[in-house]
Amino acid sequence: MKIRKIKPNMNNTLLETPIQPLYWDAKRKLAFAMISPAFIILLFLAIGPMFFMFVNAFRTWKLAVPTPPRFCGFKNFLNLFRDARFGNAFFNTLFLMVSGIIVQSILGLGIALLLKKPFKLRPVIMALILIPVLIAPVVTGLNWKLIFNDTFGPLNYILGSLGFKEPLWISSNRFWGLFSILIVDTWQWTPFVALVLLAGLEGIPNQVYEAADVDGAKPIMVFFKVTLPLLRPMFVLIVLLRTIFIFKIFDPVWILTQGGPGTATETLSLLTYDTGLKYLDIGYAMAMGVLQIIFMIILANIFLKFTTSSKISSQR
């Protein structure tokens, strides 16, 4: 089937919907009065602090000394662009994000395909694979720190017994450090990815597969030409959610490596924490936060656009 390219047109469904103008009649006033408490709370708790952050990103404010905060224009942002440590943290975060999403999507898809067909222990396995997601990230980090321990950790013991070289997982260099963090994140979040994809797989109507069967499609073709394209909205959702989660990754990194060796595994969240809460350089930390928010908004918009267009394409 040829997919038509969507053009902006006058028959857009959004415009076809009758629109109610904003009239302040009694009913509407009551409605606003009813939602206003929630709205005010949202303002105070979400938007207010964010605005506070935006304001302070343009100020020099160090809590270690008794000087009041002062406006400094774009100085914090300019310093950020020159800051090699920020660039390094950004690269590390990006690396974890891209590699994490790829690895977890592949593994998650494999698990979802295995769990798709009903079998006797399926409900038990479904419950069991959820456990890593439910464990607090701090506990996960501590567990894996013991597992990765070079001297008495079980992982190196097993590798050594099998005749493999025993790597210094969390203390040798950037590669092993980031790889260790990736393993922990993958262990914790792959089940979540698998469940989302499983829900997607179960949503694909059987008729599609029957039609492919009638057309004589081989299983590999069915997978690539039917299953994967129909799972696309689910993949977009996973990429969006995992991007947000990995972008904020803190606990495993803090517990496993504290960003070390040196700054080899430092992520943006860790650097922002250190700057704001250890060095008490509030203005600079807020500027980091603002840049991260802008980056995330851009990414989220790209993904959402992708989702919307994929929905429209699939509707057509």
């Binding site: 629109i19 103008p21 207010g48 605005f51 009041p68 070390g260």
Partner: protein, 535 residues
């Protein structure tokens, strides 16, 4: 065919739009109207958010140094039934308060409300409290490196006028702890709670073994003994590093054995480096606040660490306090430098595989003009201060004085706490320590061993080297730690790493106010000179 409502006021009039031209125009009007409605809504939101933010800024952001109101003369009496809120790091460090809160209530009627936090959060949470000024705490336990910062911010109340409430036995506090941890600008601001200090731990059984002695002498040409210098420490560590299957003290090793443990994890490595750096005569800054970190002393210290790393466990770049203590007491290390408390556990067979074989000595150093020069860093430590917002300073002082002067000998000797000796009465009581440790370990603890341990503390204190105690010390030391870690992991060369520290330290000093930082540093330097820690 579509219906579109156009008129304000309801559903009174409807147009049937059929011609494409009319349809297009009407659509344009609709979109525009929608936009206008959205704009109104957005404007309301922005105004609300702006108002909220400005209020927040006024309340929290615009505060600079607050003028501290002159202290009212405190009444020198305490009121039974008063509740004192105590801020302290949790686990083994809140335990002394838990041990003594009943006795405090019995003796004074004062009730303690304990607010334990994680050790890593002490500075941050305290700072948050001081910035927001809620007055939640009366008595705070924190690290003395932050004392000048808190005093300068007006967060602490001087204690001089409260001394009459209960005798804090100031003369009994070991001089460096009193001068550096309790006093600032000639006023008493705190009482000690924990006297942290680095000491050198070694395995006595290894040194005593005749076969090992013979082999060592044959290899290095001098007698096997407790290392006095870094060079000897390197030989010692090299000699005792053995592979699984080799013999140590006549026994075949089931695991690899290492010559020394080291504090080289991120956040820890600067402590290990400082022991070397200071013995070579290194100092944080000169008198003009120029960083002296990248001096020859700094480079030699890094070179020492890299040498010693060869004889440490392979993952030592992630080792902190727990790994070193566990490795040493687990019988896998020949020596290490650590805080004084580890000795207290060494006789307990549940925690230690080497009971009775732990020796304690002064930190190794270097020979300068025929004399041994060594320094022992004094990282962390804990002190108790009264907040300037406390409504019960008299009661808070009573509690601080009780804990520091009366209860401290018990809780610093008790292995269940994390606190270490800080009074002359502590380091001169080997009998009492022996009794405590014997009760805890359920076995005999020789008084001589305890005397040797307490003498080592005294010897190290004579050559102590305090933490940097100027505002921003957390940031200065973390940057130092970061680049030392980079150098140790091979990410940067030694010179480049230390030069970078110096560059960053200059930036920090400038951002915090160069002149004020310099004057605080100079005042600290005066006390160090008075104590003979620097020339």
């Amino acid at each position: 065919m579509r219906q579109i409502r156009l008129r304000k006021g309801g559903y009174r009039k409807r147009f049937l739009i059929m011609s494409p031209f009319v349809k297009c125009k009407k659509n344009y009007l609709l979109v525009r109207r929608k936009k206008m409605r959205f704009n109104k809504f957005a404007a309301v939101c922005i105004i609300l958010v702006f108002a909220f933010s400005i209020t927040s800024l006024c309340l929290a952001g615009g505060k600079g140094k607050e003028e501290v109101a002159p202290m009212e003369e405190a009444e020198l009496t305490i009121t039974p039934g008063t509740k004192i809120s105590v801020f302290v790091d949790g686990g083994i460090n809140v335990f002394p308060f838990e041990l003594f809160q009943e006795r405090i209530k019995e003796q004074s009627g004062i009730e303690l409300i304990l607010n334990p936090v994680a050790q890593a959060d002490v500075y941050t949470k305290l700072k948050n409290e001081f910035v927001s000024g809620t007055g939640a705490f009366d008595l705070v336990v924190y690290f003395p490196a932050q004392l000048p910062e808190f005093v300068n911010m007006g967060n602490l109340r001087p204690m001089d006028d409260l001394v009459g409430i209960r005798d804090p036995k100031l003369d009994d506090i070991i001089t460096p702890f009193r001068k550096l941890y309790c006093e600032y600008n000639g006023k008493l601001y705190s009482l000690p709670y924990d006297g942290d200090l680095h000491v050198y731990y070694y395995r006595k059984d290894l040194i005593k073994d005749p076969v090992e002695q013979k082999n060592f002498k044959a290899k290095y040409g001098y007698a096997l003994a407790v290392p006095e210098t870094w060079e000897q420490q390197k030989d010692f560590a090299e000699f005792f590093t053995r592979k699984k299957g080799e013999k140590l003290v006549g026994k075949v090793l089931a695991n690899d054995f290492y010559g020394n443990g080291m504090l080289l994890g991120r956040g820890w490595c600067h402590y290990e480096w400082m022991d070397h750096f200071t013995s070579y005569g290194g100092i944080y800054f000169d008198e003009n606040l120029n960083p002296m970190i990248n001096s020859q002393a700094g480079l030699k210290a890094l070179s020492d660490l890299k040498q010693l790393m060869k004889y440490a466990p392979p993952g030592v770049l992630s080792w902190g306090f727990t790994e070193n203590r566990g490795g040493f007491l687990g019988g896998n290390l020949a020596a290490m430098i650590l805080w004084t408390g580890t000795f207290k556990y060494s006789y307990n067979k549940d925690e230690s595989k080497i009971p009775g074989n732990v020796g304690v000595s002064h930190i190794p150093g270097v020979i300068v003009d025929g004399k041994l020069q060594y320094k022992a860093t004094m990282p962390f430590g804990r002190v108790m201060s009264i907040t300037s917002t406390s409504k019960h300073p008299a009661e808070a002082f009573w509690v601080a004085a009780f804990m520091s002067a009366e209860a401290s000998i018990d809780f610093t000797f008790d292995p269940r706490t994390g606190e270490d000796s800080f009074r002359y009465s502590h380091v001169n009581a080997p009998d009492k320590l022996s009794e405590y440790l014997a009760n805890f370990s359920k076995g005999e603890v020789p008084v001589d061993d305890c005397k040797n341990y307490l003498d080592a503390i005294k010897a190290n204190l004579e050559k102590g080297y305090p933490d940097l105690s100027i505002p921003g010390s957390n940031e200065y030391m973390d940057i130092l730690d970061l680049y030392i870690h980079k150098a140790l992991s091979g990410e940067m060369s030694d010179k480049a790493a230390l030069d970078k520290v110096a560059e960053e330290w200059n930036k920090i000093s400038d951002s915090l106010g160069f002149e004020s930082q310099k004057s605080i540093w100079l005042s600290q330097l005066d006390v160090w000179k008075e104590l003979g820690y620097v020339d």
